[in-house]
Amino acid sequence: MIILTYMNTYRIKVVISLKDDVKDVRALTIDKMLKNADIEQNANFKTGRFYSFCVSSKDNQSAREKAGRICLEVLSNPVVEKFEICSLELVQ
């Protein structure tokens, strides 16, 4: 009997940002500027980077794992940054 494993393609969208206990100095400066310009008093900014990419995997779960590895090893600096997978969609 032959078992065929079909590989699916998933599109992943992730955001990399600073860990909560790491001071986000850029965000604080933007907050202050918006306050001074009287646009928003409590903007509470967070800064980060957005990436979108595809992975080939057999299922949703393994695609998520693979994306996590890419985030951890390639896209982020794990010493100060965390990542969040915002969406994961099967590409038809």
Binding site: R26, T29, I30, M33, N36
Partner: protein, 212 residues
């Protein structure tokens, strides 16, 4: 002649810009980002540095300050000449007072060195050498502005260091009352190793003010 040197929080080239202007016998005042009164000055200099840390993007946060609002009026009324050097150029582009935008260098690294440039301003046409020091100095513009930008550029890199379109290092606006450039003329007026070609730029500024 009276010159205003605008000092935002994070600006760091104000001292040498003032010294260069004084060498050209300008009477010079530092003005901060809350200043609204610019009309008393014959020229306004936005100098180099990292206004508001260049957080978000170079020059982005500075445009929310009162002085940039006042500058819009200053330019609108064609009161005098506005010059943006490096960070100042970035601010002018961000505030849409000049065409185009400045992106990160192709190398994605900060570049500090002396470069060869071609200066073409009215009847002046010569090669000069000026220092550059920036990480976001790649000048770009939209295709629809091509003709205009082409006509308004007055300073071009001989050996493009950062990927700027058309090798553009500096340009002015349609009335030639606003000038922006990435190289630092104020750094090329004191020491032999950096040359004295910065004077060419200050000469032009002076002539343009006289033109009225």
């Amino acid at each position: 002649m009276k010159a205003a040197v605008v000092v935002f929080l994070g600006t760091n080239c104000e001292v040498e810009t003032k010294a260069a202007l004084e060498k050209y016998s300008f009477e010079c005042d530092y003005v901060n980002s809350n200043t609204k009164a610019l009309l008393g000055y014959d020229c306004v200099f936005l100098c180099g540095g990292f206004s508001y840390g260049d957080y978000i993007r170079s020059g982005r946060l500075a445009k929310f300050t009162p002085v940039v609002g006042a500058l819009e009026e200053y330019i609108e009324k064609q009161r005098g000449v506005t010059v943006g050097i490096c960070n100042g150029f970035q601010i002018l582009c961000e505030a849409h007072l000049l065409k185009g935008a400045l992106l990160e260098n192709d190398s994605s690294r900060f570049i500090c060195k002396n470069v060869e440039l071609k200066l073409d301003f009215k009847n002046v046409s010569k090669k000069i050498s000026l220092p550059i020091a920036h990480r976001e100095g790649k000048y770009v513009f939209s295709a629809s502005d091509y003709k205009e930008v082409f006509a308004m550029s007055f300073l071009k890199y001989v050996d493009n260091p950062n990927g700027s379109y058309l090798d553009i290092a500096g340009l002015y606006d349609k009335n030639r009352r606003v000038m922006g450039l990435m190289p630092h003329p104020e750094r090329a007026m004191f020491a032999k190793n950096f040359g004295f070609d910065g004077e060419e730029i200050f000469k032009i500024v002076k002539e343009e003010i006289k033109r009225g």
